[in-house]
């Protein structure tokens, strides 16, 4: 029997990691991630988790340790937040370019300056183009289940995977969570098979300098150039769309919990007004939808679980009847708009769906987003849309703009 415990998001993540049995863990503390590194240290010191824990002196080194440990053939884990993730930036690219199935939790936090320890998603969203899969969680149950899925996904497509969840809102909030059984997780997650070993028995120089063209090896075989390797990473991101869906289906079969794979939907059956977002703000939006449906408004939520790969086809299908789309997001692409809005608009381009996409920036630096504020924002949007106003306006929710 699996056990139900009342735990924080960080404890859910740490328990999931323990169930996945990584061989090497390296992390540097940063609020609100810190508890994961503390719990994993304890699990390693008490023997619950049989792994090497490298207590590094920085986030840059944390990810560097994992890159090299993964290249030797170990399953690995780290966690970070905010400026810690940004300090890893160079190594995020290196990990993806090395095609290493590293799994990391990003406990989402605002980025300095000025300092904020509180939640938004500017940290992970600003790392969009580093070549990592990014999955966003709604609640603590989804955190534990997504970490387990992340290893399965990453090790199938050899792309590092970031499990993102909102700092404090989830990381420090206790919820009942069903802990999967260790034997079942073992059954779901086969042992890690590295694509390339760093091994004296088979010496090779890994990640040397490439010239712009393809070159022959000593046997006269023409080998990939830099651009071919980049193409293959992108090709495997395309494959990962199916893999994420497939892994979700298999997980549902085994554990009985379904997260929808790339996206999830709430009350969309007859909806023509759609709210979308990632993480806890999208979950909050389901409460707003409940309230508005009582007034007869045909509204639903499409939650985006996978930001990379971005599920274009899935969204086109989900929004096929959309009259209005409202995006709530906890990040801003300065000089343009909320990054998620841009992505949604780009996905719909040429699809025949010409619903206006309303862009809301909300909850930056931990500013609370209450259900009633989402309801008011949705109402306001509907009124403006009725008057024909809409297309390229960004609204800062609950922000003094005097």
């Amino acid at each position: 029997m699996s056990e139900i415990r009342i735990i924080t998001g960080n404890e859910a993540a740490a328990l999931a990691v323990t169930l996945c049995e990584p061989k090497v863990v390296a992390a540097y503390p940063i609020t609100p991630q810190t508890k994961i590194s503390e719990l994993l240290s304890m699990y390693v010191e008490t023997g619950t988790l049989k792994a090497e824990y490298v207590r590094v002196e920085s986030e840059h080194s944390a990810l560097t340790v994992l890159i090299s440990a993964s290249t030797v053939g170990a399953r690995v884990f780290t966690a970070t937040s905010s400026n810690g993730l940004l300090y890893m930036h160079e190594q995020l690219h290196w990990a993806a370019g090395s095609r290493l199935p590293i799994v990391m939790c990003c406990v989402n936090r605002g980025v300095g300056a000025p300092w904020s320890i509180f939640n938004d998603q500017q940290d992970s969203m600003s790392q969009r183009d580093t070549g990592w899969i990014q999955l966003y969680c709604r609640d603590n149950q989804e955190i534990i289940d997504t970490v387990i899925q992340a290893y399965r996904i990453a090790e199938q497509v050899y792309i590092p995977t970031m499990v993102c969840y909102d700092g404090f809102v989830l990381s420090h909030t206790m919820m009942p969570v069903e802990i999967p059984e260790a034997a079942q997780v073992k059954n779901f997650l086969p042992p890690y098979r590295p694509h390339t070993f760093l091994d004296p028995e088979r010496p090779r120089t890994i990640n040397p300098v490439f010239f712009p063209w393809r070159r022959e090896n000593a046997e006269g075989v023409l080998c990939d150039g830099y651009m071919e390797m980049r193409y293959k990473l992108q090709r495997d991101f395309d494959t990962s769309l199916e893999v994420i869906e497939d892994v979700n289906v298999q997980y549902t079969d085994l554990f009985g919990r379904n997260y929808g794979g790339l996206i999830w939907e709430y009350q969309t059956g007859d909806a023509d007004i759609f709210v979308t977002g990632m993480g806890s703000i999208a979950q909050e939006a389901t409460l707003a939808v409940d309230a508005l449906r009582e007034e007869g408004i045909k509204i639903g939520v499409v939650g985006i679980r996978s930001f990379r790969p971005f599920p274009k086809e899935k969204l086109i299908h989900a929004f096929s009847r959309a009259r209005i789309i409202i995006v709530f997001q906890k990040a801003i692409s300065y000089g343009n708009e909320g990054g998620l809005s841009t992505e949604v608009k780009a996905a719909l381009y040429g699809s025949g769906i010409d619903a206006p996409v309303h862009d809301y920036i909300a909850g930056l630096g931990g500013r609370d987003v209450k259900t009633r504020e989402l309801i008011a924002a949705i109402r306001d949007t509907l009124e403006r849309s009725g008057g024909g106003d809409c297309k390229n306006k960004t609204t800062w929710l609950n922000c003094h703009r005097g």
Partner: protein, 299 residues
């Protein structure tokens, strides 16, 4: 011929066709390092001349496994290799992180300090060619006073070289040594010894560089010997806090016939703009350091 030459492992681990420059001090050092450490070795490499020496994908002239990593992280990379080898129960492999002076003194110091503080079980060797040579001779924390580099092109470097031996000593690691490719037997023996020691071992390699230092490629060994003869680069090892001068440096400390630094300086174009004051300051810096080492030496 020195009798110890016959003890050196005959096997070559670097095949003909490396991409290093003619007369490269690193090539000589690396050849003897790998002879000493042998095949059961993994090398961690940051962007540097070593990365160039290893060649362009898909070919390499080096027959031990090697992993390239970004500039700041070589010691962390080695930590990751060591952690995974431990976790996967393969403890018999020697892990060598080999960085240039930039990857050691400057951008690499944080991860090296962290790895040394954790007493990570690896050898960190710094091939010190005293400037950022791979990018074309820019000033580093290891550049000596008075040297012209492409970022100190007119006024020369104003500051003395960072004393990295003392920095590593402050980490209380079990083994520290200095070596020179001009004295390959001394180099070989120190790497053989380091291989047998557990914990963090730091070895600094004086690495003459013909294009960067401005001397004919045939003179690499000669310049390396002058560095030792003048005492600007003493050959030593420090085990459990005890310092011992080795080889030629030990002889010099006993017989006291150290050459003035001018003999070393005048053969290198990088010192062409050095003033008399700078020369005197460099001589004082060398003398003080030499006296510190010889006073401490426990031979």
């Amino acid at each position: 011929m020195h009798e110890n030459l016959f003890k050196i492992n005959e096997k070559e681990y670097i095949l003909p066709g490396s991409r290093a420059c003619q007369g490269c001090g690193l090539s000589i050092a690396y050849r003897y390092i790998l002879k000493a450490l042998r095949e059961n070795t993994i090398v961690a490499i940051p962007p540097s001349c070593l990365c160039v020496l290893h060649g362009l994908y898909p070919n390499t002239s080096v027959t031990v496994p090697a992993l390239n990593i970004t500039f700041a992280g070589n010691a962390a990379s080695a930590s990751g290799i060591v952690a995974a080898l431990t976790a996967l129960n393969r403890p018999d492999i020697t892990v060598l992180a080999l960085s240039g002076d930039g990857g050691t003194y400057d951008i690499g110091i944080q991860s090296l300090s962290g790895a040394a503080e954790r007493n990570t079980d690896f050898i960190f060797a710094c091939y010190d060619n005293e400037a950022y040579m791979n990018t074309g001779t820019q000033r580093s924390g290891a550049t000596p006073m008075g040297a012209v580099t492409t970022t100190t092109p007119v006024l020369t470097k104003k500051d003395h070289k960072k004393d990295f031996i003392r920095i590593m000593e402050a980490h209380n690691i079990p083994y520290i040594a200095t070596v020179s490719p001009a004295y390959p037997i001394d180099l070989y023996e120190k790497f053989v010894k380091a291989k047998r020691i557990k914990g963090t071992r730091y070895i600094q390699i004086d690495t003459p560089c013909p294009p960067g230092w401005g001397y004919p490629a045939k003179d690499t060994v000669k310049i390396g010997k002058l560095a030792v003869e003048t005492g600007i680069f003493p050959l030593l090892e420090i085990e459990d806090g005890k310092l011992r001068l080795t080889g030629r440096s030990n002889t010099l400390s006993v017989k006291g016939k150290r050459m003035p630094i001018i003999h070393y300086v005048e053969r290198q174009m990088r010192f062409r703009k050095m003033s008399i004051e700078q020369l005197n300051q460099l001589q004082s810096w060398v003398d003080k350091r030499w006296n510190d080492f010889t006073n401490r030496a426990d031979n």
